[in-house]
């Protein structure tokens, strides 16, 4: 290496270091894969309109909170409530959850099972399946086939909502689980590849291979997983989709939060398959 190259290298390092010190105002967001589609689409539109750089990262509700609490991001996305443990660990900060929409967690089964007649399940049946007490579809009116139980990672908001409402304990361990999955996308894939699976998915992820079953209540009422039932509050396994901000939120981040709650921002919540919070329920039809 001659002197010129050496000088060039030193120059390059210095200029990179200088370049690195000027941090432009960016808004960074991370967390739940359930909330992500709506926020990410809104961020894209906001960025195009206002030139504000917004970076959106996946990772799950747990990591969304942690990164916000540690100051690595400006906004966390959570599809569940903040736990007491989480609040206690970062007691020096104030966290405000803001609901941007509502979602349903739907018990889903493989299309083969749905077509064979399992179109509805009760909480007790689902509890038995996840606890490993029922392991054949014929026990719940389906074909004679072993149930393939798909569970989600324990920090997932989808799992905590489902387990809290259906099993009565959001931390419950699923002794019957055969496979554990991280994101909604990954779960959708695993469901599609199986022909005897049960899982839990956000409403927006249902399709012809992954069918949502209706819920049978204790008094025998059947509730279908539809946007309408979520909006009018009859569907039992529903939750708020939250973004969480810290007390010391930057003006740029606050601007985006306001946008998310505005009618324009809420459009992205709706076309991602969720129920917007700032729109009257009757506007949901079509």
């Amino acid at each position: 290496m001659n002197n010129k190259t050496l000088n060039f290298t030193i120059l390059a390092i210095c200029s990179l270091a200088l370049y690195g010190c000027s941090r432009p105002e960016i808004v960074s967001i991370s967390g739940s894969t359930t909330v992500l589609p709506a926020v990410s689409k809104a961020a894209q539109a906001y960025q195009n309109r206002h030139g504000q750089n917004i970076i959106v990262n996946a990772g799950g509700s747990g990591s969304g909170f942690n990164q916000l609490a540690e100051g690595q991001t400006d906004i966390g996305m959570m599809s569940r409530d903040i736990t007491e443990g989480e609040i206690a660990r970062f007691s020096q900060h104030v966290f405000t959850p803001i609901a941007i929409g509502r979602d349903a967690v739907v018990p889903v089964v493989s299309s083969e099972i749905y077509e064979a007649g399992v179109t509805q399940l009760s909480f007790a049946q689902m509890t038995d399946i996840y606890k490993g007490r029922i392991d054949n579809w014929n026990a719940v009116g389906g074909p004679d086939k072993e149930i393939f139980v798909i569970d989600k990672e324990s920090s997932s908001g989808t799992r905590q909502t489902f387990f809290e409402i259906v099993l009565g304990d959001k931390k419950a361990e699923a002794a019957g689980a055969d496979l554990v999955i991280g994101s909604n996308n990954e779960e959708q894939t695993a469901m599609t590849q199986s022909d005897a699976a049960i899982g839990m998915l956000s409403l927006a992820w249902l399709n012809e291979d992954v069918r949502g079953v209706s819920i049978v209540t204790d008094i025998g009422v059947i509730i279908e997983p539809t946007l309408e039932n979520v909006a009018n509050g009859t569907y039992p396994i529903s939750r708020d989709l939250n973004i969480v901000v810290r007390g010391d939120i930057s003006p740029a981040a606050q601007g985006f939060v306001d946008y998310l709650l505005s009618p324009d921002g809420q459009d992205f919540v709706q076309n991602s398959g969720y129920v917007p919070v700032n729109k009257p329920a009757h506007s949901l039809e079509q």
């Binding site: 990179l16 690195g20 432009p24 589609p37 750089n53 959708q188 894939t189 599609t192």
Partner: protein, 288 residues
């Protein structure tokens, strides 16, 4: 009796030969399948548009432009960072240390660095930079960690090329009254330039394919374009493939995952070929 034994040995020999041939055949079958699948599937996805368009719809449509840019930015800054340390360490090991014990110690450190699993580098980066130094998830941290991973490769390649320099050169330089610093500048560095460049390129080829070290500390899922500073996250090809692979039953996402994979492998090959070229071209150049 001896005929029976001979017969048995003969059979054994045939079986053995067939097994070795079968094993090699299997290896080539696996190779053909791997390369075939990547080229066939990736080829269907790659177009100029795919390479030059930003990702849309979480990668399921659009292209991989910012992922390519991000991956290159990560490894190029890593190369700039690793260069002075690798050359310094190689010079020290080659020109300054005489005690065998100290040499072994340096080797041990380098081999250990090489053996550390990539995910551990990610955890280390997360602890030290993202949390203790509070840098946040950023391009710069990713580059530092990749530089650490490249260090053993670059150092060892550079060192080997320094060792390959004939001692005649050193003795002649010393006889001319050159100081150690002058010897290094006018003899050692020019004569080992090919090794340094080759090592750097091999390091680049390896680093660009890494996922585990950067996925917690350097990359973001969406909304990333060309970073405006070293403290912003970047997009990268490996983490993009990871996100797309998780939705493998969505045919559009899967197609783009293959396209990104083929692109990534072509970048790896590009660096490898440049390393190959550097080894010979620069060597003959420096030996002139």
């Amino acid at each position: 009796m001896s005929n029976v034994r001979r017969y048995k040995r003969n059979i054994g020999d045939k079986v053995f030969a067939a097994a070795t041939r079968g094993a090699l055949g299997l290896c080539f079958a696996i190779l053909t399948f791997l390369i075939g699948a990547i080229i066939w599937q990736g080829g269907k996805a790659i177009s100029l548009e795919f390479l030059l368009m930003p990702a849309q719809d979480f990668g399921a449509s659009g292209g991989i432009f910012y992922q390519i840019v991000g991956s290159l930015l990560l490894v190029i800054v890593a190369a700039v960072l690793v260069l002075p340390f690798a050359v310094g360490t190689a010079l020290y090991r080659s020109e300054y240390v005489s005690s065998a014990r100290r040499k072994r110690l340096i080797d041990l450190a380098l081999y250990s660095l090489n053996a550390i699993p990539s995910v551990t580098y990610g955890v280390f980066g997360l602890i030290l930079f993202v949390n203790i130094f509070g840098t946040g998830i950023s391009w710069f941290v990713g580059s530092i960690i990749l530089a650490m991973m490249m260090l053993p490769t670059v150092t060892i390649t550079a060192y080997q090329s320094m060792q390959a320099i004939s001692d005649d050169y050193r003795e002649n330089a010393a006889a001319l009254g050159l100081t150690r610093a002058q010897q290094i500048r006018s003899v050692i560095l020019p004569q080992s330039l090919h090794g340094i460049v080759t090592g750097l390129l091999i390091g680049l080829a390896r680093a660009i394919g890494e996922t585990a070290p950067i996925m917690f500390i350097a990359t973001a899922f969406s909304g990333v374009s060309v970073p405006r500073s070293l403290l912003e996250p970047v997009a990268s090809l490996p983490t993009h493939i990871l996100a797309l692979a998780q939705q493998a039953t969505n045919p559009d996402a899967l197609r783009n995952a293959w396209g990104a994979s083929l692109t990534l492998i072509m970048l790896v090959m590009l660096f490898s070929m440049m390393a190959y070229y550097a080894r010979f071209k620069l060597m003959t150049f420096s030996r002139k």
